[in-house]
Amino acid sequence: MPKVTFRTDWCKGCGLCAMVCPKQIIVIAKDKINQKGHSPAEITDQSKCIGCAFCATMCPDCIIKVEK
Amino acid sequence: MSEKVLMKGNEAIAEAAILAGCRHYFGYPITPQTEIAAYMAKKMPKIGGCFLQAESEIAAINMVYGVAGAGKRVMTSSSSPGISLKSEGLSYLAGSDLPALVVNVQRGGPGLGGIQPSQSDYFQATKGGGHGDYKMIVLAPSSVQEMASLTVKGFDLADKYRMTAMILADGTTGQMMEPVNLSEVEVQHYEKPWAVTGTKMERPHNIVNSLFLEPEELEKNNFARFERYKQIEENEVMVEEYLMDDAELCVVAFGIAARVSKNAINEARKKGIKVGLIRPITLWPFPKKTLLAAAEHVKQFISVELNMGQMVEDIELATRCKRPVTLCNRTGGMIPSPAQVLAAIEEADKGGQA
């Protein structure tokens, strides 16, 4: 089962991962804020993840790990 | 073996550099030092070294920066306008604590100036030239033999203190031919654990860098660098004193000016004038102690230079203005004659400040 993990404390909330996610299951959590002062990306429904790694490919901060 | 060979000053520098273990030379053609590049172009491929004619002096000094960062002995040479172009690189070498040898066979300036001998880059060499708080070790040869021996010395000092050593020569010493003994060259070796040689996955990465955005850190580095400079001032001063024991007048001159001055001093001595010579071999560190000691027994200093008197204020500072310092000079590519220097000595001897 594919699994995506975000290193949330380094996320800058740029949203490029959400932009490319084919399943539209990544959002920028506007109600949260990390130590850097950014609203981080988070996954809404892990079960829908297909492990395509588009999000990780697009992430400029290399904070996404994808497992299958 | 102490065989002497007849060599041009510029060639002596090149051959001595090779003997000192330098296998990388980068340069851009400029008169009057191009013999160094030509010599390297001929020799380097035959000994597994690298001669590369760069697209500019700026590129050449940055190639030097690369090889120095990689921990190998490296040099470039140029003449005055070219050194101005290299000054950016000299500042970066200082900021990154990299050792390199840079040769300046000076010609007249400012601007494009001329191609005749000069010493008018004294300020540029001894006070920095590029931006920021830094020094270079500045060596001033006055014979072809010294062109060779100071080149070897320059490489050693550069490695020892992780900084640039500059040979500050002039068009005359570069072009003249004299017998040289190259058989007694002793070369020191220094470990360079800081160099970028590839981690081989055995150590953390090395970084060669002069950027420190935290002012506290940059200040700390500058303080540490100037502590090293203090040691150099303490331990590495080189100076020649000639007929100074009983001298009442003191000529101060380096490079070609010192040779002219010696002739004049010999003539003056024949006339009974007690005059001697202090010849700084290291222009930085400047032989302050020797000059201060001389100020106790001479009544006047005469600075003989191929410029508008750039060394005068260093003499005044070293002697704490205890005695007057006069200037005997030519500039723009002209060289003072022994007669001109003798006249200055005679004038001083009469009590007038020539």
């Binding site: - | 990388h24 920066y65 590839g198």
Partner: protein, 252 residues
């Protein structure tokens, strides 16, 4: 099974770049190429002056910080000091295509066996968004507030086109990092540029069309759209020079 994680040649530290800045993607692609070729222990990188000035903190291999524009000359020195080592420079458009044009052209024409990663985002990012040599005609920047007037300050420099006219260089390709497909193509190009060096083929330059959301005044997503609509038409992607492929084609 891990299908994607941070490459080992990247240090485990956060990057200082602005949110959505594509420098991070390009750093990662370089690190992936180094990892896959197994060359980290003998690779030496040269950082520029510009936004990527602190790249020396991000790559695990030995690193040198060069003066503005001089990275190809510094890389030349490092490579000549030990030709067995793999040397790359990482430079922005101001660094490579303005102040360092001479160093770039001459390293290329010497076919210096180095790899150059050229990040073109059409603006000076670090100093706050001034006109770059690659700023598009009409593009508004801090120093072209009425749009780049080509009659006043000339046209953008097309580095890949320009360098491919030289006989010297081995490989010149322009790629972009605006979407997953292009990022994968960019990765392939960057890896080839390193592979060429490993094989001793000579100078490879990969021009990477990238974005600067902060100084373009756009969101990261809008910036990538702008890149696609404006940058790529002006700077067409593709292989501009591949000497080995040319030779092979001629041999047939």
């Amino acid at each position: 099974m891990v299908v994607f994680e941070k490459p080992k040649s990247l240090c485990d530290v956060p990057l200082h770049y602005c949110p959505g800045c594509t420098h991070g993607i390009i750093h990662r692609l370089v690190a992936e190429a180094i990892d896959e070729l197994g060359i980290e222990g003998k690779t030496i990188g040269v950082a520029p002056v510009g936004c990527a000035v602190m790249a020396y903190n991000y790559f695990n291999c030995d690193m040198v910080e060069a003066a503005h524009g001089r990275a190809p000359a510094v890389a030349t020195g490092i490579k000549r000091a030990d030709p067995e080592n793999i040397v790359f420079s990482y430079q922005g458009d101001g660094d490579l295509a303005s102040i360092g044009t001479a160093e770039t052209v001459h390293a290329a024409t010497r076919n210096e066996n180095i790899t150059v990663i050229f990040v073109n985002n059409a603006i000076y990012g670090m100093t706050g968004g001034q006109m770059a040599p690659t700023t598009l005609p009409g593009q508004v920047t801090q120093t072209s507030p009425y749009g780049r007037d080509v009659n006043h300050c000339g046209y953008p420099v097309k580095i890949s086109e320009m360098l491919s006219q030289l006989e010297g260089p081995e490989y010149i390709e322009r790629v972009a990092v605006n979407n997953v497909k292009n990022i994968r193509a960019a990765k392939k190009a960057i890896k080839k540029a390193f592979q060429n060096q490993v094989e001793g083929k000579g100078f490879s330059l990969i021009e990477v069309i990238s974005s600067c959301p902060t100084n373009w005044g756009l969101s990261p997503e809008k910036a990538l759209q702008w890149l696609e609509e404006n940058m790529i038409p002006y700077y067409p992607l593709g292989v501009y020079k591949d000497r080995t492929a040319q030779k092979e084609a001629e041999a047939k």
